[in-house]
C-alpha cells in the first residue's frame, strides 16, 4: 500500500489527548489504518492508554484493552487464544507498549510469548524513557540522555549506560518477523505493518517515536529527528523475515552531533561523552550491517 492509498477513515480518531508532535500518536493513527478494523489491541499502563482511552471516551474504533504494565504479551496471547476458540482466528491481535513496558518490566512476558510463537503482533513504541510517569530512564534510553532519574548534577549527568538492543533480542527468539520502523519513514512503516499483518505467528515491530516533551525538542521537529536518527546510525531500519535480514535504509553516517543538537535532553553532554556515543553509533551500524550480511539468505 502506498501512502496515498491509505484509507481516509480514521480508526484512531481525533480528540485523543496526546501532546503536539507525539510520535506514538502518529504511529497509532497510521498503523491501525494498515491493520484495519478486524484488530483487537491491548496496551499496558502507558501514555497511549491515557491519551487514547480515558473513560468514558476512547479514540479507538476497534476493541481496546488494558490489564497492567508488564503483561502486554501475555494479555495479547489470551485475546488471541480466545478469538481462536470463538472461530475468529483471522483477527489481528496487537499488543502495543512503550519501551519501559517492553524492554524493562515487560520483557519476561514478551520473551515467553515469542518463544511459544504466539500468533500476535507486538509493537513497541520506543520513546526512550518512561514518559507517562514523567520522563524516567528506561533500558531503552540512549547513553548520555538527561531524564528525571538521570538528572544533570554536579557529579553525574545523563544516562551512564547504552541503549538495550531489543530488536537483536527479539531476532534471537527466531520468530517469523522482527522489524524496526520509524514514524519519520512512513512508507517503510506502512510496508512493515502490511507485511506483519499477513504473517502467522509472532511478529515484533519496534517503532522509533520521538517524544517532544521528554526529549525537549520543538514539536515540529519529530519527523526531522526520526530522519536524523537513521542517518546518524542511532537507529537502524531493518527487518528479519524468517531469519533473513534486510537493511531497509543505509545511514549517511551524519555525525551524531547533528541529531543531538536538536534535543534538550543531550544539551549537557561533554565532547568526550559525545565521542563515546558517536563510537557506539558507528559500531552499532557496523554490527547491524555485518549481521544482515550473515543473515542475508
Amino acid at each position: 500500500m502506498k501512502l496515498k492509498e491509505m484509507p481516509d477513515e480514521e480508526l484512531f480518531t481525533r480528540g485523543h489527548t496526546a501532546c503536539a508532535g507525539c510520535g506514538a500518536a502518529i504511529a497509532a493513527r497510521n498503523l491501525i489504518k494498515v491493520l484495519g478494523k478486524d484488530t483487537v489491541a491491548v496496551t499496558p499502563a502507558c501514555c497511549l492508554l491515557i491519551f487514547s482511552a480515558t473513560y468514558p471516551l476512547a479514540a479507538w474504533k476497534i476493541p481496546f484493552h488494558h490489564v497492567a504494565f508488564e503483561n502486554t504479551a501475555a494479555c495479547a496471547t489470551g485475546i488471541k487464544r480466545a478469538l481462536k476458540v470463538r472461530g475468529k482466528d483471522d483477527t489481528t491481535v496487537m499488543g502495543i507498549a512503550g519501551d519501559g513496558g517492553t524492554a524493562d518490566i515487560g520483557i519476561q512476558a514478551l520473551s515467553g510469548a515469542a518463544e511459544r510463537n504466539e500468533d500476535i503482533l507486538y509493537v513497541m513504541y520506543d520513546n526512550e524513557a518512561y514518559m507517562n510517569t514523567g520522563i524516567q530512564r528506561s533500558g531503552s534510553t540512549p547513553f548520555g540522555a538527561w531524564t528525571t532519574t538521570t538528572p544533570v548534577g554536579k557529579v553525574k549527568a545523563g544516562k551512564a549506560n547504552f541503549k538495550k538492543d531489543m530488536p537483536q533480542i527479539m531476532m534471537a527468539h527466531n520468530v517469523p518477523y522482527v522489524a524496526t520502523a520509524s514514524v519519520g519513514h512512513i512508507q517503510d512503516f506502512i510496508n512493515k505493518f502490511e507485511k506483519a499483518k499477513k504473517i502467522k505467528g509472532f511478529r515484533y515491530i519496534q517503532v522509533y517515536t520521538p517524544c517532544p516533551t521528554g526529549w525537549r525538542h520543538d514539536t515540529s521537529k519529530t519527523i526531522e529527528i526520526c530522519k536524523l536518527a537513521v542517518d546518524t546510525g542511532m537507529w537502524t531500519l531493518y527487518e528479519s523475515e524468517n531469519g533473513k535480514v534486510t537493511i531497509n535504509r543505509k545511514p549517511k553516517m551524519t555525525p551524531v552531533q547533528e541529531y543531538l543538537k536538536l534535543q534538550g535532553r543531550f544539551r549537557h553532554m561533554t565532547e568526550a561523552d559525545i565521542k563515546k556515543l558517536q563510537d557506539w553509533a558507528t559500531k552499532k551500524w557496523q554490527a547491524d550491517e555485518k549481521y544482515a550480511q550473515c543473515k542475508s539468505a
Binding site: 481496546f64 484493552h65 490489564v67 489470551g78 487464544r81 470463538r86 515467553g112 511459544r116
Partner: protein, 393 residues
C-alpha cells in the same frame, strides 16, 4: 458417572474438563503441578477442547486468563503459594473487570522459610482481592466446587472470579473415592458459557479495562461490593441446585454440624473440618455438647449466620491455619467482628502451620478449652499456638 480413587489435584483438573473450559493458562508449582499436568493430558489426548497456554510465569498465567475471559471464553487456572503471590497484582484486575475466571488454589505456606506444605497464609493476603473464595474439605468437594464455581462466578448478579481452595498434600496428593461427573450431567448443571459483561469483539468494539477518573470510580467499587453482597444468595441457590441434581450437599456458605444444641462451637476452614468432625462424634458419645462449623466461604463471609450461632453458644473457638502477625488468626478476627457486642467467650487456636499435623487430640484439646470457658465464663488465653515448642498451651 464413574467412581474413581483420585487425588484432589485430579478432581480439580477433571472438574475443569467437565466445565468445558476453553482456555487454560498455567504454570507449575508444587503442590499444584499435577492439576496442570492432568489438564495437559486431557488436552493432548483430545478429551478436552481447550487452548492450553504454557506461560512463563504465574503473573502471565493470570494475565492470559484475564484477557481470554475478557474476549468471551470460559477460563481456568491453578496455582499455589508463591505463584498466587506473583499473581497478586492481576487478581483485583480480574474482579474489577468483573470476569468469571475460576482458579484452583492449592493452599501452601508462603516463604520464608520456604515450605511446600499446607498453610492458609498464601490466600489470606488475597482476602480483599475481590475474588469469591471457597475452602474444600475433601476431593469430592474439590471436583464439585470447580463446577459450582463457574455457575456462581458467571451469574449476572455476581460476575466475579472465584478460587477453589484445597489444602496442600492433604487433598492435593491424597487419593479418595470421587464420583467423577459425566459430560451430559455437567452440561445440564452448567450450560454453555454466556459472558456476563461486554467482551472484546471486533464486530462490536468495546474498551475493557481503560483508565477511569475519580468521577466514575466510586460507582465501580460500589457495584463490585454489591455483587459480593449478593453472592451468598447465588451460592446457596447453586448449592441447592447441585444437591438436587447430584444428591450431594456440601453446604452453602457454611456447613454446620451438631450446632443447634451445642454449648460450644469450633469454626474451621479446609481439611481440619474432617478431623474436627470425628472429634465431635467422639465427644458427643461422651455426652459433651460440642458443635462444628465448617466455614466454607471466606469471601463473601457469612457474618450474620455466624453471629446467630455465636449468640446461642456458650463459647466459640476458631481454628486458624494462618496468622496475621501481632494480632490473631485471620478467621478469628472475622469471627470477632461477627460477634461484636456479644458476651460469648471467643478463643483462637493457631496451628497446622507449614504442614504441622493437626491431630484428633489437638482438636479435642480445643473443645476441652472451650468447654472450660463455657463453664467458667472465662478464657484461659485468647490465642493459643498449638503444639509450638517453648510456647505455653
Amino acid at each position: 458417572m464413574v467412581k474413581k480413587v483420585v487425588t484432589g489435584n485430579y478432581a480439580a483438573a477433571y472438574g475443569s474438563m467437565r466445565a468445558r473450559v476453553r482456555c487454560v493458562a498455567a504454570y507449575p508449582i508444587t503442590p499444584q503441578t499435577f492439576i496442570v499436568e492432568h489438564i495437559s493430558e486431557f488436552v493432548n489426548n483430545g478429551e478436552m477442547d481447550c487452548e492450553y497456554v504454557e506461560v512463563e510465569s504465574e503473573h502471565s498465567a493470570m494475565s492470559t486468563c484475564v484477557s481470554a475471559s475478557a474476549t468471551g471464553v470460559r477460563t481456568f487456572t491453578a496455582t499455589s503459594s508463591q505463584g498466587l503471590a506473583l499473581m497478586h497484582e492481576i487478581l483485583p484486575i480480574a474482579s474489577g473487570m468483573r470476569l468469571p475466571v475460576v482458579m484452583a488454589v492449592v493452599n501452601r505456606a508462603i516463604a520464608a522459610p520456604i515450605n511446600i506444605w499446607v498453610e492458609h497464609n498464601d490466600i489470606m493476603p488475597e482476602r480483599d482481592s475481590g475474588w469469591i473464595q471457597v475452602f474444600c474439605d475433601n476431593n469430592q468437594e474439590v471436583h464439585d466446587m470447580v463446577l459450582q464455581a463457574f455457575k456462581i462466578a458467571e451469574d449476572k448478579r455476581v460476575a466475579l472470579p472465584m478460587t477453589v481452595g484445597l489444602d496442600a498434600f492433604i487433598l492435593s496428593h491424597t487419593v479418595e473415592p470421587v464420583d467423577l461427573m459425566d459430560q451430559e450431567a455437567a452440561d445440564k448443571f452448567l450450560p454453555k458459557y454466556v459472558p456476563p459483561g461486554p467482551i472484546l469483539d471486533p464486530d462490536d468494539p468495546a474498551v475493557v479495562g481503560v483508565f477511569t477518573p475519580p468521577e466514575y470510580m466510586m460507582e465501580c467499587r460500589w457495584n463490585q461490593d454489591k455483587a459480593m453482597r449478593e453472592a451468598p444468595k447465588v451460592i446457596e441457590e447453586v448449592n441447592a441446585a447441585f444437591a438436587k441434581q447430584f444428591g450431594r450437599n456440601h453446604g452453602g456458605m457454611i456447613d454446620p454440624y451438631m450446632v443447634d444444641d451445642a454449648d460450644v462451637v469450633l469454626i474451621t476452614l479446609g481439611t481440619a473440618s474432617s478431623t474436627a468432625h470425628e472429634v465431635v462424634d467422639d465427644m458427643r458419645k461422651e455426652g459433651k455438647k460440642v458443635g462444628l462449623v465448617k466455614l466454607r466461604f471466606w469471601r463473601p463471609y457469612p457474618t450474620a449466620q455466624l453471629r446467630k450461632i455465636a449468640e446461642k453458644a456458650k463459647a466459640v473457638g476458631v481454628f486458624d491455619r494462618a496468622v496475621s502477625y501481632g494480632v490473631a488468626g485471620p478467621s478469628f478476627i472475622e469471627l470477632r467482628n461477627a460477634a461484636y457486642g456479644l458476651t460469648v467467650p471467643t478463643m483462637n487456636f493457631i496451628g497446622g502451620l507449614g504442614g504441622r499435623d493437626v491431630s484428633l487430640a489437638d482438636i479435642r484439646f480445643m473443645y476441652e478449652r472451650l468447654l472450660e470457658a463455657a463453664k467458667t465464663g472465662k478464657i484461659r488465653r485468647e490465642i493459643t499456638w498449638m503444639g509450638t515448642r517453648g510456647v505455653e498451651q
